[in-house]
């Protein structure tokens, strides 16, 4: 097997002596859409925060395209290509949707202070390119018509799409999403599913943390199932669905082999 894009290697994390994530190993191949599912309290969000850099990794390693990232702060990981979409509406209030997307480009631009202050030609060209790529990203997630609206005025589904656009502006190698379908209406879910299909076709690698099993299993190449902090199953959606341990974890009964 070739080197995976993302390797989570023996990662554990405890809150006050209780393990939320325990010795988790996950390899995500280039171009893969990986779903990470599990019942409440399985450690999904903890894993999301460990990979994104919102929580410090104390045990284990996280490797992105051959580079250890687990000791790096979140902003350095973003610059190495980890794009993050939160479940909550973590958008930039007081800015328009377009400006929100433009901020995302900070992960790839240097953002030189001198260039900005003296309005150097190179800065003006960069600024045009950022605006252009932000418009494209908004169009990609279906927000072309919302560009000049204040970000906080967008409905929840659009705010999440805006986070995707913002992440895309940073040209991520890996897009990490925490329960992207949570709280969305049926039509919004369908739109989100179509967006994932499109992003996958374009070659983007995605890790989708999801509580809603039906939503992701029809999109994912492979599914990792967490329960009580451990990986209890991994494979194609069909094999995972048939796995008795998974059924047991979701139904909360004992394991019957």
């Amino acid at each position: 097997m070739t080197e995976p894009l993302l390797r989570v290697d023996g990662v554990s994390h405890a809150f006050g002596g209780v393990y939320a994530v325990r010795e988790v190993d996950i390899d995500v191949a280039y171009g893969e859409l990986r779903a990470v599912i599990g019942p409440n309290g399985a450690g999904k969000s903890t894993l999301f925060n460990l990979v994104g850099g919102q929580l410090a990794v104390r045990t284990g390693a996280i490797v992105l395209a051959g580079t250890r990232v687990d000791r790096l702060p979140a902003h350095r990981r973003a610059r190495l290509g980890i794009g993050v979409v939160f479940q909550g509406a973590r958008i930039f209030r007081g800015m328009t949707a377009l400006e929100n997307a433009m901020v995302g480009a900070h992960a790839v631009t240097g953002g030189g202070f001198a260039g900005a202050v003296f309005r150097l030609p190179v800065h003006r060209r960069e600024e045009r390119e950022i605006r252009q790529s932000a418009r494209e990203a908004l169009a990609r997630v279906g927000l072309a018509g919302w560009a000049d609206r204040p970000a906080e005025s967008l409905p929840l589904g659009q705010q999440r799409a805006l986070q995707v656009a913002r992440a895309l502006c940073g040209r991520p190698r890996l897009l990490l999403l925490d329960e992207p379908a949570a709280g969305l209406r049926a039509a919004e879910r369908d739109a989100l599913a179509r967006l994932f299909e499109e992003l996958k076709t374009s070659g983007l690698t995605m890790v989708v943390i999801e509580h809603d099993v039906a939503f992701v299993t029809r999109l994912a190449d492979r599914v990792t199932v967490l329960d009580l902090g451990r990986v209890i199953a991994e494979g194609t959606p069909a094999t995972v669905r048939a796995d008795p341990a998974v059924v047991a974890a979701y139904l909360g009964t004992g394991v019957h082999a």
Binding site: Q54, H75, A78, R90, V103, V117, E127
Partner: protein, 286 residues
């Protein structure tokens, strides 16, 4: 009428200085949520530095510019101490800036003594509407206009400006788009230092500056900044001008001893009105 115009012009001049100090407070607060009580010290340090450099023979312009750079450096230093350690709560940082402002007195007295300093500004006088006033006022007004336009453009139209605003709006989300929020915070302190420094070198030719002049500046600047909820630069400019003109009229038609009281009353009135209106829209907890 001539008196009115005279008071108006001097009021606008000192109002510009308050607005500059206030905008330094706003830039730092927008990005870091810290109220920087050392903001007035940057002005005093820059004023003293400029007077020393001019006395040692450096030409006008170069001396003032160097002094503003020293102000920016002082800002960066205060920033390093106040927010350099990631995770310092804004309240703790505020107390640190207050402590550093007091510490700055000791440094200033040690280097420059406790005597007031001054140096010449733009020479000559200008006549306008039958009133003669120092040409230096034109420099103060012009420089303030340029600085406010420039800061507005920086925040609205540059990547670095958007990154600075993003820190203020949602530090949690700012990190995941690759923004180093500590570095942005330090940058804001540097900009604040430069703005304070500029206020200092502009005010010295029309006002003697002593080591404790920062109190006057921080009270006036804070009143101006609060006018814009410590967030909006343009409101800060308006607030600063209103304060400067109000003080000038009180001093001109009434008693010059009440200038500080004017600032404090304005500050109190604005704060009470804002507190009554609504709890300000806050960022979501990170």
């Amino acid at each position: 009428m001539r008196e009115f115009l005279q008071y108006l012009i001097t009021g606008v001049g000192s109002g510009c200085v308050f607005a500059l100090v206030g905008s330094g407070l706003v830039v730092v607060h927008r990005v870091t949520r810290v109220v920087n009580f050392a903001q007035g010290s940057f002005a005093v340090i820059a004023a003293m530095t400029a007077s020393t450099l001019l006395a040692s023979g450096l030409p006008h312009g170069l001396a003032e510019a160097s002094a503003v750079a020293v102000g920016a450096g002082a800002g960066l230093l205060v920033g390093l101490v106040a927010i350099g350690r990631p995770g310092t709560p804004p309240g703790a940082s505020l107390i640190i800036t207050l402590g550093l402002a007091v510490f700055a007195y000791a440094v200033e007295v040690l280097i420059w003594g406790d005597q007031p300093r001054s140096f010449a500004g733009v020479p000559g006088a200008v006549e306008f509407g039958g009133v003669r006033f120092q040409a230096h006022y034109l420099l103060i007004i012009g420089a303030t206009a340029v600085v406010f336009a420039g800061t507005a453009a920086l925040f609205a139209r540059t990547d670095i400006g958007r990154a600075l605003s993003a820190c203020a709006s949602n530090p949690y989300a700012a990190r995941v788009v690759g923004i180093d929020i500590v570095r942005m915070g330090l940058l804001s302190f540097g900009i604040g230092g430069a703005l304070g420094g500029l206020a200092g070198v502009l005010v010295t030719p029309i006002q003697l500056v002593t080591f404790d002049y920062d109190v006057t500046l921080i009270v006036g600047g804070f009143a101006a900044a609060v006018f814009g909820g410590l967030m909006r630069p343009l409101h800060t400019l308006v607030g600063g001008l209103l304060l400067g003109v109000a003080q000038s009229f009180v001093a001109g038609y009434g008693n010059a001893a009440y200038q500080m009281e004017v600032a404090l009353v304005l500050l109190l009135a604005v704060m009470m009105r804002q507190a009554a209106r609504a709890p300000a829209a806050e960022q979501e907890p990170a």
